[in-house]
């Protein structure tokens, strides 16, 4: 057996190991129901901000905590505690992806991704400012 063959076998073994670990270590997309059913696991939850309810960000007490309410894709609403500062332009977000886990009555997120509508849709046309027209 050639040494390069041995090297190849080792490579394949590492690859398989890597794939399995990658899948085991991965998180998964879920809704609130699943997340609250498995409070120890980390999930990505996609949803929308509930604009009716309050958003609490009091940087004077804790700049790393922001509380709001979100609907998931099944329209289930939960309180969310984001352990980061309030993202810029949060009110304008159209879709939110939270990464974190359920704890008690709230979903605790360590990471947030947002989609803001204007970046993705093109609704309006503006006129040039007076001086330019």
């Amino acid at each position: 057996m050639k040494k390069s063959h041995i090297a190849l076998i080792i490579v394949i073994a590492v690859l398989i190991g890597a794939m399995i670990t990658a899948i085991n270590d991965s998180s998964s997309y879920a809704n609130f129901a699943e997340a609250f059913a498995n409070p120890t696991d980390e999930f990505h939850v996609v949803g929308q901000l509930n604009r009716e309810k309050e958003m609490i960000y009091d940087p004077l007490t804790n700049p790393d905590e922001f509380v709001f309410y979100m609907y998931d894709i099944n329209n289930e609403e939960h309180k969310v505690v984001l352990h980061k500062s309030k993202p810029q332009d949060f009110e304008r977000s159209e879709q939110i992806v939270l990464i974190g886990q359920a704890q008690g009555d709230a979903f605790h997120a360590n990471e947030i991704l947002m989609k803001c509508p204007s970046k993705y849709t093109e609704g309006e046309v503006t006129a040039k400012a007076e001086s330019n027209s």
């Binding site: 998964s28 304008r92 991704l113």
Partner: protein, 789 residues
Amino acid sequence: MTIGQIGNIFTVIAFAASFMSMVAYFLADRKNDDTYLRLGRISFLAHSLAVIGMVATLFIMIFNQYFEYHYVWQHSNTDMPMKYIFSCFWEGIEGSFMIWTFWHVILGLILFKSVKGWEAPVLSVISAVQFFMLSMLLGSVIFGHKFGSNPFTMLLREHPDFSNLPIFENVNYTDAIDGRGLNPLLQNYWMVIHPPFVLFGYATAIVPFAYAIAGLLRGKYIEWVKPALSWTFFGIGVLGIGVLMGGAWAYESLSFGGFWAWDPVENASLVPWLTMVGAGHLMLIQRKKGVSVLSLFFLTTITFCLVQYASFLTKSGVLGDTSVHSFTDLGMTGQLAVSLIFFCVLSIVLIAINYKRFPTHEKEESITSREFWMFVSSLILLVAAFIISFSTSFPVINKLFGTNLATTVERIDYYNQWITPFAIITSLLLAIGQYLKYTKTDMRSFWKNISISAGLSTIIAVASAIAMEMRNPIYIALLFTSLLATTANTHYWLLFLKGKMKSASASIAHIGFGLLLLGVLISTTESEVISTNSSLYDISVLGEDFSNNENILLMQNDTLIMGDFFVSYRGKRAEDNFIHYEVEYMQPNESGELEKQFTLYPYLQLNPRMGNVAEPYTKHYLHKDIYTHISYAELEDKSEDAILEEHSVGLGDTIFTKTSFMVFDSLDRTPQKRFGGLTENDLAIGAHFTLFDVNTKAHQLEPLFVLRNREFSMTVPDSIPDLGIKISFDGIDPENESFKFRILEEAPKFNDFIVMKAIVFPGINILWLGCIVMGLGSFLSVWQRIRRK
């Protein structure tokens, strides 16, 4: 004819000519016919001119702000500074494809001149790639399916719904409308240089690929390596610098908090670089000793396919939520996938057909030979590339198999943990590589030669691990191997090559890579968030389970301890669309007084339409950086609703407000003396109050009641702005001997504050230095090969 039509004509010519060139060159190679060769040349030249024409046309359109065209409207506006005009050009998919095809044309034209004997098949492959890429720019509907997206389309054609808008009723609407503007994140000088550089790096992958396919088509399985070799190392240099330039961009001007976030788009650009390095090294073995032809073809073709895959990931919209900098879906997913699959299948089929005829390479390499370990290094790079690709491809896997995998929130740790062992092995191999000889190495002299570097690296590694309090054995191992890579290659260059530049390229590139890994290791593992909250507001009572405690709250003019510094937020300054926050850093001097060291101005870019963006501001030292950005700032002055109350009181009474009380202590019957605005004819009376605030500090207030010309009454209110209290004297009720006052009380304003994050990155300059040295080494190897010819 409008400029858009000119652009369209160029597009159609470029598309058609790429097809002609592909076919003609292919036939020229098969039939060995000069007529086809001439046709191929003419078509390729026509194609090149048309592509250059397209680029020029789009540039003129953006420069002249023709907002009646969709692409111009979408990516620029009149407010945008001229210097970002290039950024607009490649902000969209169409523009970035155009630049990419432009680089292919430039490379094709250079090859055209220098390729000698390989012209027909190599340019046929390049034309084929161009054919697929230009189909993404067509924007025509064929058989009910829209192919590509065309940057020369009129706005109203792309958006027929706009024709109802009032602004379009104007016949001269083209003069009236403004564009949508460039994303504020991209209004940055990095956006001017990074995309074309990375796209040029991507483009370079086409040359070795074209040679490999040409070799397979001609059945010349080894001869193609020689001309492809220099191009591969040129690509390694360009793409390597391009990838890290992206890192520098993220670090300098995006608030990600670092230079590498393992974002899918970053990974997608790193992966082809890894396989390209692998392919380059296999080519080196092939030139010296011969190597498995299969592995050579595999790594060369997969590099190109991975570049196509990177383009697929960023441009198809499949990454969606998972990446911050992917493009929006333009409905080209299918087309991008077809292009990707075509080149993968082409490579696999050609390799499979030819496999039986590959020259066998049966000779067993010695375990002490340089070629064996170079081969192993290439395999390791391939495995690393695969591991990164696999997790990056989760969104694609989800689409294909209906799974719902997602990368963990600890993404950065996850990748770092997986890639560190590979970095250790790679740096170790690249440290010893040059000390090993081709065929067989005398191990006694090997150990003797390497021992000096090994000893030196051990001493430095141990000393610095202790100094940095590095405990993790894996990190210490990487510290040692990356130091060894640096010292061993320096040693080799100085002693064995006598410091000459001739044939020093490998040593220099490897020194660069060693430094790069060292910089990555130190800046990543030793980085420290110093902005932990040290204000008086105790946040631990809120539960520490989740508290990230990574941001500091700075009230204006308060001084807090942050890391080695005392920091103070001094105020903000608005300038155009930016708000700059002035944060002063101080340290105590010998006599214990705080002395200003420097001031940083992290800022927010305001964009009402696309969202506000925080951009960092960094203090650079030689050995470390202090990187800061605003996490949160109150943009509007938030004053709560004021409370208005009316009081009817007599002399000597006390009025209570929410935060104070005031005593009506006297009447001033001759306020004229004190208030210049009153005349002799005015009948005026002042009510004098003494107000005590929460700290029982006394303030004086005197609102006036005035009867002017004995006809109409007016009031002259008085206020204490600091307390938000304003009082007006509304009238006198002689019957009850009472006086009417109105008190407006605003909630006291908080001082201005910011929430800020600050991270210290030690040793990050080693990383940038390593990147530059590595790039120089790669380019040096190209230059030496060209000179040798």
